[in-house]
Amino acid sequence: MSVTATEINAAAPDPEGYVNERVDLLTRVQIDRSCRQTVVWYYASAVVWLLLGSVFAMLSSIKMHNPDFLANYEWLTFGRVRPVHLNLVGYGWSSMAAVGTLLWLQARLCKVRLPFRRVLPVTCVIWNLTVFAGMIAILAGYSQGIEWLEFPPQALGSFAFIFVILLATSLKMFAERKVKHTYVSQWYLFAAVIWFPILYSIAVVSMQLPSVTGAAKATINWWFGHNTLGLWVTPVAIATSYFMIPKVIGKPIHSYHISLLGFWSLALFYNWAGTHHLVGGPLPAWIITVGIVGSMMMLIPVTTLAINHHLTMIGSFHMLKTSPTLRFVVFGSMVYTLVSAQGCFEALRSISRVAHFTHYTVAHAHLGLYGFFSMIMFGAYYYILPRLTRNEWSSAPLIKVHFWTAAGGVILYFAALTWAGWYQGEMMNNANIPFIQTVEYTRPYLIARSVGGMLMSIAHICFAILVWRILRTKPVSQFHGPTLLANPQSEAGLAS
């Protein structure tokens, strides 16, 4: 579509500005249209896994305080449903939402259309089949028994193929980028898409080596497990927050230099931190000390992000009331500061002496992957999907219910398990207290955890309804709100 002389004259007295605006709008709409199929497929699949993952989460949680619940079916025993929950929310929900967001952000930041539009939806299908097959394998009793790596090793083939395509897509967009500057989010996205496949490949292959047993296996396990969080989902979420917060409030990042410092410190230190999971384990002390030092160094990127986002938001906090994206992303960013600072100190031997192998760690993990990562991904959905579908979200109240049940659920979950876990650790360290007393003490808190999980499940149902509606409604028929803001009528005209 071209800009006509009549339109330019009508927009006087600034015809040049009008032309620039229309060109930018056209570019943006074309980019969104190129991303539509791939990102929508990844996003919709992620929501299905989120719902299924929630079912297995509830099963696992209820079994913690009512062990007889569904205990007569071997495929529904705790040892199977709990890893299924982890893998469905890890590789189903989180990773697929991350890929959708990553592709859209790269296209927008490079200002080029998404390439390989025929192959990318195929990668989504393969990803779904892999997660489905992995789920069946675990339920049938063929888990690898290694946390975060329970899927059969054959999954490596699928993920390796997919990540080759994803990396090629990212590199092609970067090579053809129309914006000379590499925005801070792009550094994080490249880190994620380059490092995760290397991590996964090395972890899966090394686990199959006959020489890797015992403590060595545990070391690789936690080096991989921690890095999956730190070098895969965390960078994508931080990249999203560095794009969404300034973009939604219409204000650049407060200090761009600090944001770059945050990235490079994360890139240099995060991958050293994994061995803190083995504090007290039968490993050379220096290996664990390296992990602890790496963990404490993470205070640098965490602090930079907290300062930067807070200073960027000053003067715009009132927009938390009016923007769903901002509400979720700012919540997630604030939780990132809290959970990461907590994680740094949790790595210390003195804290681990109490907190390790208790519910305290479980609370921390959920605050990270849900309170931080998932909340930011929800925010990304609220921003991206209307632009891809050229549609409006169907219900503001339902979005608010989604936010408050998700936030309330994760806060209740975290508070209950943190409290219970700390005292559980103190009690287990006291040889005079019988073990069963520890179990009885934590039971009410485990019930509170199930209530928190229930709230989060309600949030996911609301979210799924919203996503279902926005995907089912015909495009451009329902512009009754300003999620799209940038003149929906003209945007609709350009997209048609």
Partner: protein
């Protein structure tokens, strides 16, 4: 066992080296200068600085 540790530490060093290489590339190509330009690069004429781009559906602009 030692092979596993070499694998892990080797990989950690590889990641560290890749970060440093990327950092050197960024410095050489001027990515670390002109910070305000970098921060503004997500805005354009259609979505300029000062223009909010998200709100609840049904809300008044």
């Amino acid at each position: 066992m030692s092979a596993a540790y070499i694998l892990i530490w080797g990989c950690m060093l590889l990641f560290g080296c890749s970060s440093i290489c990327a950092l050197l590339w960024a410095i050489r190509t001027g990515q670390m200068t002109g910070s305000q330009e970098g921060a503004n690069s997500i805005f354009d004429a259609a979505e300029p600085i000062g223009k909010p781009t998200d709100a609840f559906p049904g809300a008044k602009r």
